[in-house]
Amino acid sequence: MTWDHHDPDLAVIRIEYVLGTLDGRQRAQFVDHLATCTECATEITALVDSVDALTLGAPDAEPPVGFESRVLAEISAATPRRRVRSRTLLFSLAAAVIVVVASTSLLAAWPRSSRTYSATVVERPLWFHHHQIGTVYAQLGSSRWMVIVSSQHTTVRRVDCIVVTDTRRTVDLGSFAYGTGSSSWPAQLPVAARHVRQIRLVSLTGVVMATSGVSPWGTWASS
């Protein structure tokens, strides 16, 4: 569905979209419209900015005695696990470089079924409307690196990379350049690769541009 930009209802729909109060059908229609409407995408960004800005209006308040210590204690309790990971950082970086080289050389080979390049490097296709538009490469084991290679021509210039874990938790890994043809980037996973259920690339206006299959990485390795 398309809207006339002079239609006053469109302003209403944009606001209700930002506040999440559109019903399912209207939301689907507007998301479809957003994928190709830069004017609405710009307006949505501005509205989100206005909503976020209100948080800056809150006054400072002195937290209760011992608050800082309790926060730092909770962080400290979580830190040892992170330190184990940091010891393997050099190994992971080297592995990521190897995966980038491997994935780039295989870019022209789409579409193909899943393969295993070594004991640990696995891949799964990225899909958009039943067309393969890229591949996710990752390592099994304790490594938390993956590389995404995509080839999609679209007006969307940046996408957020969302990781869905096997506990259905979603983690936003940040935004990446997109849509001008072939692109690739490495990213650090929030959990071990075998606990990743799905990867989603989502435009900054919320349109899902690509998804990997819904499956544990362990299964992907043997497919």
């Binding site: 900015d49 809150a58 006054p59 730092l72 962080i75 650090q188």
Partner: protein
Amino acid sequence: MNQIDDSAAPSLSDEALVAGMAERSDAATVAFVRRYQRRVYGLARVIVNDPGTAEEIAQEALVKAWRHASTFDSRRATVERWVLTITRNVAIDTLRRRRATPRDPTEFLDLAAASSDTPFEERVEHGDTRATIQAALLKLPEEQRRAVVLATLHGRTAAEIADVEGIPLGTSKTRIRNGLMKLRADPLLERIPR
């Protein structure tokens, strides 16, 4: 990994502290928590009524910021906006999950106004962010201001606001819509760093 010197951390920029947290620097983490604990707790206090719940929200928000420091993107928001958006989302989740008591939305402005001895107009003139937000909100009719604060900071739906305010659903939607459209068009908000 701890490459940031303890004595240097407090003078680092927000972005440098977040980068240090992403590298799990202890000094950067301590400096970040010290710098933002009052902002984060202050926002939690204007959203929920109970100080204990506000403390839990603030603690969870700061730990989340530490956990996800590597995903911070300075092109999309300032560190202040990032950490306060995390806080707001944690607060809204908590309000919904526990059915905790939200604070009266008008107190948001009362508390903000009382937070400085400097005259309000002078603070706006000098680009004080909090005063600028207050000024933009104060331009709205009171019923729209309440609806906007409830919808944006408290995460209330139009139906919930209709229930709280004792008004029809259509009126609730109109107040939120008109209030947000005025805020969106207000040149005062253009002054706020993104």
